[in-house]
Structures are given as structure tokens and as C-alpha cells.
């Protein structure tokens, strides 16, 4: 355990975050894209994953009696908040208040299954998340969904940030917040570059760590790595590709991601040290390693736009410059051939 002790780093950190009893809000974003789950069903089933997540949520709630949680699901067609339920944050709050005042009233609002062996708050969350998630999974048209390649990760992140903003910054409750993104990731998934980057910058500004746990075989999520890196979150790839397996998901979650934001400066985070900093082309949405950059608005392009104008700021590029760029290699070929 000594390994995670990072207190030597404390001296370096200028931020003086005193350890106190501040509760924290955990926002969990769950990938609800069924085909991806189906792809990795030999390693982990949805129900197993959901069970792991619920255990993790319960653990978070158990750490402090004012800790709260927000669960968001996303698939290719969109993202939605699963918990707290739509019917109103107010009702759940009043419920919580009831519970805290220990008025044991098993009224109409009580969950259907009466299981007295379970802490009430856990139970509410567990049931709501399960029901809402199944709803979401069942009411998706997979064929339609498949036509849309853009993943709704950016949408989900926005939702989470919005929720955090409302409950932490607008309400001015003294809370810390963090986001955990649980993504499976499939091959065809393309994350929208600009919306995602905007979310990352917002999180960075609000000092909200974004953690990412990647389960599936999909391609490396460049932007998610960047998200973790710039918000001081944890990026963990536990897919087969990384010669790991998501089988022990609950263990990963509980040992890797449970650390409260207030603890983060003091411990060594199990994140990935190599971060891919590449950006995506604005035209093709592909990650590029060498490309062109608009000299006016810094828009990134992997090819010269066909209409000779910047796709973002509409700057018309000078013919001369473009002619220079367009001329691909090289006339030395002859010489090279002659040599041998």
C-alpha cells in the first residue's frame, strides 16, 4: 500500500487542499451501446458490469452520508440521465431527508421489493439505475442507431457537467465533484472532437477530474486520454488489447477509481503515463499525426479543403501557398534511380 503514497509530491503542489470533511458528487457515465457489450460478452456481461458499478456507487455513498451520485447512460442515439430519476430531484431529496430523520415510514414511495437487509439509500439508487438502464437498452433501435457513428460521449459529458454545475456550483453546496466514464468503445466509434474538447476544457476549468475506464476492444480513445491528462483524472484501459481483462471490474473500480478528489493530490494515481496528444481533422474527423493548420483560426486539416477555404473560419487561402503545398513529392526521383 505504501506505493500509492504520493505525499512527497505535496511540496510541489501549490494548491493547498486541506483534507476536510467535504462530501463529493460522483457522476458516472455508462456506455449503453448494446452491440459493443455484445462484442465483449465473453469477458463481462452487462449485468455483471452493472452489478460492479452499483457496488462502486454504494461504496461511494457509504464513504460520507452527504455523498451523492449521478448516473448517465449514453449510446449512439443520445445520452440521458438515469439517476436521479426524472420525476424530480425534489422527491428523492425529500426521501433522503426522511431517511436521515429516521422516520421509518414504508409509504407508497418505498421501492417495490421489501428487502430490509439493505441500506435504504443504496436500494433506491440500485433500483432506479437498473430500471432506467433496462428501459434505455430495450427502447433502442439498434439498426437505426448503427447508422449514426458519432458517439454521444460528448453529450454525456455535457450532461454530467451540467448536472455538476447545477448541484455544486449553482446551489453552492460545498461539494467536490468528479466524473467517471465507463466506456466499452467499438470499432466504428468516432468521438466528436470539438464538443469533447470543449467538455474537457470546462472540466479543467472547474477542476473536475474526469476518470475513464475503458473495457472494450475499440481503438484507443485519444481524446479521452487527453481528458484524463488535462483534468488530472485516471485513465485505465482494461481491455484485452491492453492484455488485461475487464473480468474483475469491481476490483478495478474499487481500488483504482474510488479515491475522492480531495485525496488525489496526495496519492499516486494508477493512470497511464503515455498520453496520445494527437488531434482530429476537422474535415474527416480522423486523428491525424501530420496535417495542416489554418493560420487564422488554427483549424486542423488532414487534406487541403476542396473549395480552398478554411472549413471553420472561411478564410480563402492564397493560391500561391496552396500551390506550394499541393505539389507532392519530388522530382529527384531520376537521380535516385540513376545512382545504384
Amino acid at each position: 500500500m505504501n506505493a500509492i503514497d504520493g505525499t512527497s509530491r505535496q511540496l510541489k503542489d501549490t494548491e493547498d487542499q486541506t483534507l476536510d470533511d467535504t462530501p463529493s458528487l460522483l457522476s458516472i457515465i455508462i456506455d449503453a451501446h448494446v452491440p459493443s457489450w455484445e462484442e465483449i460478452k465473453s469477458q463481462i456481461s452487462i449485468s455483471e458490469a452493472v452489478a460492479s458499478i452499483l457496488v462502486f456507487i454504494n461504496a461511494h455513498l457509504a464513504l460520507h452520508n452527504s455523498n451523492s451520485v449521478n448516473v448517465i447512460g449514453y449510446n449512439a442515439s443520445g445520452a440521458r440521465i438515469l439517476y436521479p430519476p426524472k420525476s424530480g430531484v425534489e422527491s428523492t431529496r425529500s426521501k433522503e431527508r426522511e431517511e436521515r430523520s429516521e422516520s421509518v415510514s414504508d409509504g407508497e414511495q418505498a421501492p417495490s421489493k421489501k428487502d430490509h437487509s439493505m441500506y435504504r439509500q443504496f436500494k433506491t439508487v440500485d433500483e432506479v439505475v437498473q430500471t432506467e438502464l433496462w428501459n434505455m437498452l430495450n427502447h433502442t433501435n439498434y439498426v437505426e442507431e448503427e447508422k449514426q457513428h458519432n458517439s454521444a460521449i460528448s453529450g454525456a459529458l455535457s450532461l454530467a457537467l451540467g448536472f455538476i454545475n447545477k448541484h455544486v456550483f449553482v446551489d453552492e453546496s460545498r461539494m467536490r465533484a468528479r466524473i467517471l466514464l465507463l466506456t466499452v468503445g467499438h470499432k466504428n466509434e468516432t468521438i466528436q472532437y470539438i464538443p469533447t474538447m470543449n467538455c474537457i476544457f470546462a472540466a479543467q476549468k472547474l477542476k473536475i477530474p474526469v476518470d475513464v475506464c475503458k473495457l472494450g476492444p475499440g481503438s484507443d480513445q485519444v481524446f479521452l486520454q487527453q481528458a484524463c491528462d488535462s483534468t488530472h483524472g485516471i485513465y485505465m484501459d482494461i481491455s484485452e488489447k491492453n492484455s488485461k481483462t475487464p473480468k474483475g471490474l469491481v476490483q478495478y473500480l474499487l481500488s483504482g477509481f474510488i479515491s475522492d478528489p480531495s485525496l488525489r493530490p496526495h496519492i499516486v494515481l494508477p493512470t497511464q503515463s503515455n498520453v496520445d496528444f494527437r488531434a482530429a481533422c476537422f474535415l474527416t474527423k480522423q486523428v491525424v499525426d501530420i496535417g495542416y493548420v489554418c493560420s487564422v483560426c488554427l483549424c486542423i486539416m488532414s487534406q487541403i479543403p476542396s473549395n480552398r477555404r478554411c472549413p471553420t473560419c472561411d478564410t480563402t487561402y492564397s493560391e500561391k501557398t496552396l500551390a506550394g503545398l499541393g505539389r507532392k513529392p519530388l522530382k529527384k526521383k531520376k537521380k535516385k534511380v540513376v545512382k545504384p
Binding site: H149, K247, G256, T312, L330
Partner: protein, 538 residues
């Protein structure tokens, strides 16, 4: 201003008049048929007076090769005449050799309407790429100015064998910026405001004066020059300045209010009146058409402020009240105007008017170019890395089935708990620990064993050189220029250079760090060379 003295020339009594305006000395005989003598003061080469103990009281003026001698009846007159002559002669000479910017041909020149200074020979710097690239002098000054750039230049061009033209070809913008900044000239500033008398420890007042400041002062306040020219050889230079800085004139020029407590100084106060006269002359010569914006009288009659009882602001009161303040404001305004005229081509009247009115308008918002991020759906033809469209038909049924199967066996948290500690969990824990250890390692390297500054410096030089060559390579590569192959060779050399630099680091820990530090740039080179190879082949 002219001075007249009684003086005898060759036994004939006459009147000697010295005029500051025409810079001429004129002697006209009172009687007799002697021709008058005219001497241009600028031509005077020598002035001689009889020593004090001599019985004769005579003044000899040598202009050209024709000396004329004047005898005076008493010594006081002679000394006065001599002083006046000295002042005027030196002034005339200076002006002859260095014509002042404002035409002071007539002594009543008004500064505010002074003609703009003759356009100086402005060195026009060509800003086009070609001449910038050819301007070696400019490039050298830039290298000297910017140390960073100088280092890169030394590493790549002097030691790395890059052609200087290549080096500059991608830095034309730097050259242009530098050419622009270095050609900017400083405009004039209000020099009196920068002169601040300080009280020293021995209770004496000190004023710092530099030749430049004196020159600027003469330039901006002609009255100071007049005072100086009239008095200086007579007074000691230091005395003159001491008196000047204590005088009411100084206060007035600085725009301070003169109070009765200020010491009077007959010498300096003469010029104070001069200044007032000029103002009066200026007021008399006001243009017929006053711009409505600045027409105080017009404002007055329009608003009828007096009848309404709202006393207008002091500066807005035309007439005698608050004369001091208004005159101070006027003189400062005049100075500003003069400075503005000196620094720039004078504004056309129309422009001036719009400028004055635009001052009253609120701030205009910045104009932005809207950036439109279009989310065009180009994924229809998206290809994966293999190049073929990866669209395995989705088995919707299988998915549905899978969801239902999952739905049927409900989530049980208890299922996660096994009796024995599962191998999966052990592995997971091991992985997390592994990640922590890896992170810890990288922390320690960053934190504890920072690179040796010398090693770091060496690597930095190699790194900048390599980046420079990479830049040129891609530049040439894109342009399909013939230089590309030589650049590719240079890149190959760069790899060797990096290896050599890293190899020189003997300390094991340092070596490891060095290898890590240079890894990414090496990858870049390999990538570049690979691209080059591909391009060569097909």
C-alpha cells in the same frame, strides 16, 4: 527686439542699432555724409573689446575681412552692447549652420501655426520577402537581438550546414516584424514634464540635464532658446539653468499655476511676458471659422448658461475669469498640438474634426469572424485503418436477444462476492498496483533526479537543431522542391547526432532520461524518412 547705442566710428558720432529680427548690425551716422555700416551678424567672426583698465572704450567687430571699430562714451554701454552682440551672434551662427525646424525668420513666429518640419529622409525599408531575405544586415542585427534565434542559427547554419537562405526562408515573418519595429522612431515627448528637480541631502535642489534634454527643450519651447541665446555667454551656463528652473517662466511652461509667492526674476520674467504676448498674438490670429465642436462662445450663447444660473465649467468660461487656468490649459494644448505635428504628418482639417467628434462616441465593439464548426457527416465513407470499409452487418436480433437474456437474470450484487478470492480480482489488483508503481517511477524521475543542466543543455541544442531540420524537410517535402533529398540526408545525420549526444551521457540514470527525452524527436525523424521513402518509390 532691437537695441540702440550711441557709438563713434572713425571719429563720427552715430547710432549703432542691433536688430534681433533681421540679425543685422547697423550704424548710421548722426550727421555728415559718411555711409552707414551694415554687418550681417551671421558673418561676424571675431569680437574684441578693450580691456577694463584701458583708457579707451572700444569694440572691434570683425566680419569677413573688414573690421569696424566703435568707440563708446562709457564702459557700461559698451559692455551692454557687447553682451547683446555676443548673444545674437552666437544665435545667428547656430541658426545659419542648423536651420531650425520652424521658420524663425521673423521673430514673431507663432509656434502653434509653425509649419511642419521638413520631411526627414526616411529610410524606406522594403517589406517584400525578397528584399528581406537579401538584407544581411537586418538578419544579423536580429540574430544579435534575439539570443534564442542566434543559438538556433549557430547550431543549424554554422555547425549544422544548413544554408542561411533556407534558415531565413521560413522566418520571413520574423524578419518583417523586426524590420518594422527597428524602423519605428520615437516621437517627441513633453520634455519639461520629465525634468523633476530633486532636493539633495544638503538641501540643494538638483536637476538632471542631458544635452538631449536641452535640445528637446529648445525645440519644444522656443522661448527657452531665446532666453538662453540672449543671456548665456553673459551668465554662466549653470547660473542660467539655476535661475530658469526657479523662475516663473519654468512654472508656466510646465503648466503650473503661478502664485504670488513665486520669486520674481527680472531676467526670466521678461520672457514670461513674451509668452503672454505670443498667446495674445495667437488669440488675435484665431481662425475665422471655429469648428463648432470647440466653439466656446457658441456654446455659451446657445446654452445661455448664465441666465439659467448653472455656472459653466471654469474651462468653458470665455473671457477674463480664470485666466490663469485657461492659459495653462491653452499652453499645454498648444504643446500637445505641436508635438503631434512633429511626430506625424498634420491631420487634414476634416480628419481632425472627425477625430474630435469620434472621441465622444462610446467604445465600438470588436468585430469578430464567426467560426462555424460544421458537423458534416463524412462518416458514410469512413474507412478503418485497413482501408476497407468496415461495416460488418449488425446482428440486431442477437443484440436484442442478448439484452433480454441479461434482463432475465437480474443483477445480483451478491454474485460478485466469491467465497475464495477470485483470480480475476487478484489480477485486477495487481494491474492497478502495476500502474501505480509505473506512475511512481515516472514521478521520481521527474521529481528527484532532474537532468544534469549540462546534459540538458547539450540535448536542447541537438533537439532544436533537429526540429529545425525537420521543419525544413517538411517544407521542402510539401513543395516538392529539389532540396528535399539533401534535407533527408541532414535528417539522417541528425539521428547520428542525437545518438552521439545521448551516448555521451555516461551516468546510467541520466542516460536513461536522455534516451527518453530524445525518443519522440527520433520517432518524428523516422516517420519523416519513411514518408520520404514512400514518396520516392511511388
Amino acid at each position: 527686439m532691437s537695441h540702440t547705442f550711441q557709438a563713434t566710428n572713425k571719429k563720427v558720432l552715430g547710432v549703432l542699432s542691433i536688430s534681433a529680427e533681421t540679425k543685422k548690425l547697423e550704424w548710421t551716422p548722426v550727421s555728415g555724409d559718411r555711409a552707414p555700416i551694415n554687418v550681417n551678424l551671421a558673418n561676424v567672426t571675431n569680437l574684441q573689446a578693450t580691456p577694463e583698465n584701458s583708457a579707451k572704450i572700444m569694440l572691434k567687430i570683425v566680419a569677413g575681412d573688414d573690421p569696424s571699430t566703435f568707440a563708446f562714451s562709457n564702459r557700461g554701454t559698451m559692455i551692454e552692447c557687447r553682451d547683446v552682440l555676443q548673444g545674437l551672434v552666437s544665435r545667428a551662427r547656430r541658426e545659419a549652420s542648423n536651420p531650425p525646424p520652424s521658420a524663425t525668420g521673423d521673430g514673431s513666429s507663432t509656434p502653434a501655426t509653425a509649419t511642419p518640419p521638413p520631411k526627414k529622409e526616411e529610410k524606406k525599408v522594403a517589406m517584400d520577402d525578397k528584399s528581406l531575405l537579401a538584407d544581411f544586415q537586418l538578419q544579423q542585427t536580429l540574430l544579435k537581438e534575439s539570443k534564442e534565434l542566434g543559438k538556433v542559427f549557430a547550431a543549424t547554419v554554422i555547425h549544422g550546414g544548413l544554408k542561411p537562405e533556407e534558415f531565413w526562408s521560413i522566418r520571413v515573418h520574423l524578419l518583417r516584424a523586426f524590420a518594422l519595429t527597428s524602423n519605428q522612431k520615437k516621437g517627441p515627448y513633453n520634455v519639461l514634464s520629465t525634468i523633476k528637480p530633486t532636493t539633495g541631502s544638503d538641501n540643494t535642489v538638483n536637476v538632471q540635464l542631458t544635452p538631449e534634454k536641452v535640445k528637446d527643450m529648445f525645440d519644444q519651447y522656443p522661448v527657452v532658446q531665446t532666453a538662453y541665446d540672449d543671456n548665456v555667454p553673459r551668465l554662466k551656463e549653470s547660473d542660467f539653468w539655476a535661475r530658469f528652473f526657479q523662475s516663473r517662466l519654468f512654472k508656466k511652461l510646465r503648466g503650473e499655476r503661478i502664485t504670488h509667492k513665486d520669486p520674481t526674476d527680472p531676467l526670466m520674467d521678461r520672457y514670461l511676458d513674451d509668452e503672454y504676448d505670443k498667446e495674445a498674438a495667437l488669440a488675435a490670429g484665431m481662425p475665422d471659422k471655429v469648428h463648432r465642436f470647440v466653439d466656446i462662445g457658441g456654446n455659451d450663447s446657445q446654452a445661455g448658461s448664465e441666465s439659467f444660473g448653472n455656472r459653466p465649467d471654469m474651462t468653458m468660461r470665455a473671457g477674463s475669469s480664470g485666466r490663469d487656468v485657461v492659459s495653462v490649459i491653452k499652453s499645454i494644448n498648444r504643446l500637445s498640438e505641436r508635438l503631434a505635428q512633429k511626430s506625424e504628418a498634420p491631420l487634414a482639417e476634416k480628419e481632425y474634426g472627425t477625430l474630435a467628434l469620434a472621441d465622444l462616441q462610446g467604445e465600438t465593439g470588436a468585430e469578430y469572424v464567426p467560426l462555424q464548426v460544421r458537423q458534416s457527416d463524412t462518416n458514410g465513407n469512413k474507412k478503418d485503418s485497413d482501408g476497407d470499409v468496415d461495416m460488418t452487418p449488425l446482428d440486431a436480433e442477437a443484440c436484442k436477444e442478448y439484452v433480454h437474456s441479461q434482463y432475465d437474470n437480474p443483477v445480483s450484487l451478491a454474485s460478485l462476492v466469491h467465497d475464495d478470492y477470485s483470480a480475476d480480482y487478484a489480477q485486477a489488483w495487481g494491474n492497478v498496483q502495476g500502474a501505480v508503481n509505473q506512475q511512481k517511477g515516472s514521478w521520481e524521475t521527474v521529481q528527484e533526479s532532474l537532468m544534469d543542466p549540462k546534459v540538458l543543455n547539450d540535448l536542447l541544442v541537438v533537439h532544436t537543431t533537429t526540429i529545425e531540420f525537420l521543419r525544413h524537410f517538411w517544407h521542402n517535402f510539401q513543395e516538392g522542391s529539389a532540396e528535399c533529398s539533401s534535407m533527408a540526408n541532414s535528417l539522417a545525420k541528425c539521428i547520428k547526432r542525437i545518438d552521439a549526444a545521448v551516448g555521451e551521457v555516461k551516468d546510467e540514470q541520466q542516460h536513461k532520461l536522455a534516451v527518453g527525452a530524445m525518443a519522440s524527436v527520433k520517432t518524428s525523424i523516422h516517420h519523416a524518412l519513411k514518408e520520404y521513402d514512400i514518396a520516392l518509390r511511388g
